[in-house]
Symmetry: C2
Amino acid sequence: MTAKFSDRLDAAIRAKGNPICVGLDPRFDSIPKFITDAAIQSKGDTSLARAMAYVQFNQAIIDAVADIVPVCKPQIAFYEELGTDGICAYETTIAYAREKGLLVISDAKRGDIGATAEAYANAHLGGPKSPFNSDALTVNPYMGRDTLEPFLKTGAAHCGGIFVLVKTSNPGSGDLQDLKLSDGRFVREHVAQMVHDMGRNHLGTCGLSDVGAVVGATYPDEARALRKLMPDTFFLIPGYGAQGGSAADAAAGFRPDGRGAIVNNSRGIIFAYKQKPYIETYGEKGFASAARAAALRMADELQFISRMK
Amino acid sequence: MTAKFSDRLDAAIRAKGNPICVGLDPRFDSIPKFITDAAIQSKGDTSLARAMAYVQFNQAIIDAVADIVPVCKPQIAFYEELGTDGICAYETTIAYAREKGLLVISDAKRGDIGATAEAYANAHLGGPKSPFNSDALTVNPYMGRDTLEPFLKTGAAHCGGIFVLVKTSNPGSGDLQDLKLSDGRFVREHVAQMVHDMGRNHLGTCGLSDVGAVVGATYPDEARALRKLMPDTFFLIPGYGAQGGSAADAAAGFRPDGRGAIVNNSRGIIFAYKQKPYIETYGEKGFASAARAAALRMADELQFISRMK
């Protein structure tokens, strides 16, 4: 019997000693040229060539970080952009990451009514029968709690979880999320309460629930307040690094005991080879080693969080 | 030079004489058995067999209704459920529908930040280069206006449009959408204002904009109020038929002149062959004719709307 998602996530963070989630968001123009050139030479400038390059790139990144980080998170949009071939690359990437022992969060931000939500849940959270067999899925709460329940139900049946968007990392996230309600709360706080309520029936033995929340590192004050409303909720924290969030900002989403959150980094790890200081040390051919070095450095930057306990 | 999405949609509704959108939401267990049996016999009980059955089914439906309805709307969740094979069926279905002269709304309810939204937009709204080359895409506003802009930008460059979720048809849609704000408005009204504002720079010569709104037929009072806030906005109205919305309910979303909206029907048309009175007349083999008959009947039921002008 597989353990609950929350317990597996908590255990993976402890085992690896850091709460890093590596965002597998490939972009053709950012992947090492020797990979994209070879793919185009083999298949022409086609979506198949691009998808093949994504898989090759991702597999090398996964190989380089699987023993040091607990989680990865492919963003499906970058694969969907390539159509059928891209979706095949998404399937392949997820299967490979799981095979290598990483927990996988499918970052698709899905959300829809009844039977439609069930279909999405079957796609991402239905266990080995699912094409995108992931440990968790990001979901959008705008359509209401009844549209989240099918994800939770299917997830629970297969030891998976969900991360509900609460306060996102983008500059315009406040347009809706920061609206003030007539009862004095903010919309994001209302959603946080919903997440907390839904999670009550899905607590793991670790004390955290399978109903997580997306809370951006770019809004540390809001994150601190949201943490109080969701004491048992796993936070998936985007916005670290390229989007401007620091380690201290990310720390705002953690529990006082240093647990209950993972911090995502996409470009800062997978494209580290293009950035100082990695570019000099590793070069293009060493992109995977650069990713590993960047992940280790990030783990170091986040060390003080685990010392909070 | 192709006309703007709003002008093409308005013209298509006038040309066909009805505002029907046929929802192409295949489900394996609801498709005629002679189709699913043949697919399984040919390819085994695989996702490929299911995807092939979806394409065959959809093409027959499209052939049967393309000359009488203006728009179709495949719901990507039912294809995503089948993984790569299903997504291939989605691509094929969209291309076939456009070839047959239907406008296509990709019902994917996507939404994400910056470069991610751009990738989704490229997938669905980027013109002939897009794998899911659609005329419009449904999008989710929870993450804020800056996450909708990339869709609008890419759409506008390729004469496409978007439909923003405002008030959805499901029972729990009020959880967020009906929250009362401190200024006395409802969240859905705030989103409606955003949609209206965004549409101002995207008006077609018909006087309607390329920034549409999803407003369910199941909430006619809310639809009437939202129409006042969005006088120039195309409404995509789900919830008619199986979900309980009547023709009169759907009419609540239209402009006083009888224009500015399309009414979706999925199961009531594509699976009409399983329902009375069509089951007796057409039988399983006549599923496409049954769909045509159901569409004609729906057009008849909606006739009074066009007489509003």
